[in-house]
Assembly symmetry: C2
């Protein structure tokens, strides 16, 4: 069922709650691919009722980013959700979420602001204000849907960790279910932005997963010095790659580390053919 | 029933919700007086079950303010609540609310930040960060108790308006019930900080309510020019008064006005005997 208003989704959820049913929420920006589908499947499995939100959230895009050209495929998204057993696709307009004036500043809108320590690194460094927009919209979605469980992909690991921190800090009554990255057979992590890649770009884009896998292999062989592990990346990079960062951090609190261990997550961001791609890997994962 | 942990209050509320009972929350910093009691009575009247939170919230005090000497009277507060028919007095420790480290900065804590336009005036101007702390703790309390109704006094009118804005902006599923200011027979608005006033201070403190009442009388007689209305205040002020502000604003969006009408709220803050007092009046109120 496709719903566009907050009022309608609330009424439906209220009825479910009265019946004692559990509710799952999968927040997305649409352009659904198999990565999203893995979250959706998990939600359908775990919860009595599932809401997938499809909302390209203007306040999490920075000036100069791809807000206007971000892929919007609501018809296909709804079909995919219906087939997967989703009960509600919630696709509000920006006006429904933020009022007639889409306020992009904190002059007239209450914001939820994640801690500086979690934000001032990785993607947050180049995408100033991005995670403020993410936390604010996710907080709103939690308040609208009041889910028992919510599903986030490890693909956006910094986002996942920041949302976990928000839920803990603000005592939000929801359980977060992290879901592993889904990859093409080639190793490329699925992303809605992959649509921007040419066939040739896609080959160059494999460097990200190759770098991460190689680092993990080196770690498994006993190399724990982060500088040494970083050195192993450069063999995969050439003039087609514009590396933004390659960082090693504790996966719980995003504390930077110089000596890798099983709790270390390696984060990479790199532009390929003008498209900004991210990927990550947990060294302790089997 | 006095409860100190989030877990216990959640379990109790969950049981009430299962029974279909409505829940009211009255957030306080304790040192309860008849002003609070009027909120509590309204809550007991309106809701099946009532939680009163008693928490002196460290993150809403600014450096140099009275956090340490703020009156704490939990035993008397609990007695008063019991007598009024309150079901739970929720009195968490700072560690229970913020973890072992009481984080006073946004480096390690997720904050809820009200809009700059609502904050950069009246009490927010001198109490930098105060309303960030208020919104964050109230948001946490809403998530912990999940009340259907919550009760705030018009005494702290800027706070009430900011909380209303937060609830709207973040789609928080709670209805706010504003409650009128309670005054001593003399006209002095009740406040926990009145305890700091000497008998002589209390007489000087009457200037606040006198100024507001006089302005309202002048307005009712047809004077709407704000500058002219402000002029009428000075007859009540002498060397015992340190006026911080006297402002005329729209009571819904805190927009400053030069011509008073029925939606205009007049706000005053003034130090008497070193104690900062606030008061306000709605010109359209009968």
């Amino acid at each position: 069922m496709l719903i566009h208003t907050i009022k309608e989704v609330r009424e439906q959820v209220k009825e479910w709650k009265k019946l004692g049913l559990t509710v799952g929420l999968v927040p997305t920006m649409g352009a659904l691919h198999n990565g999203h589908l893995s979250l959706i499947k998990k939600a359908v499995e775990k919860c009595d009722r599932v809401v997938v939100s499809v909302f390209v959230n203007p306040i999490q895009f920075c000036p100069g980013e791809d807000l206007e050209k971000y892929p919007r495929t609501l018809e296909a998204d709804t079909k995919l959700c219906d087939d997967a057993g989703v009960n509600i696709v919630f696709a509000p307009s920006p006006a429904e979420m933020y009022g007639e004036n889409q306020m992009r500043t904190n002059d007239f809108l209450t914001y939820v602001i994640p801690p500086f320590f979690y934000v001032n690194k990785l993607c947050g460094k180049s995408r100033v204000g991005h995670f403020d927009g993410v936390c604010t919209v996710v907080n709103k979605l939690f308040n609208i849907v009041q889910p028992d469980f919510t599903f986030f992909g490890e693909k956006d690991a910094q986002q996942l960790i920041i949302i976990q921190k928000m839920v803990k800090d603000l005592n939000i009554p929801v359980e977060i279910i992290p879901c592993p990255i889904v990859r093409e057979e080639s190793g490329l992590a699925l992303s809605s932005r992959n649509k921007y890649l040419s066939d040739e770009d896609k080959i160059h884009a494999l460097a990200l997963s190759k770098i991460l896998n190689n680092i993990k292999n080196c770690y498994k062989k006993g190399i724990t010095d982060v500088e040494a592990l970083k050195e192993t990346a450069y063999q995969f990079l050439d003039e087609h790659h514009d590396l933004e960062y390659l960082e090693f951090m504790n996966q719980n609190d995003l504390e930077e580390t110089t000596k890798a261990d099983d709790t270390t997550r390696v984060f990479i961001a790199c532009k390929v053919g003008g498209v900004r791609l991210i990927d990550n890997i947990l060294l302790g994962e089997k």
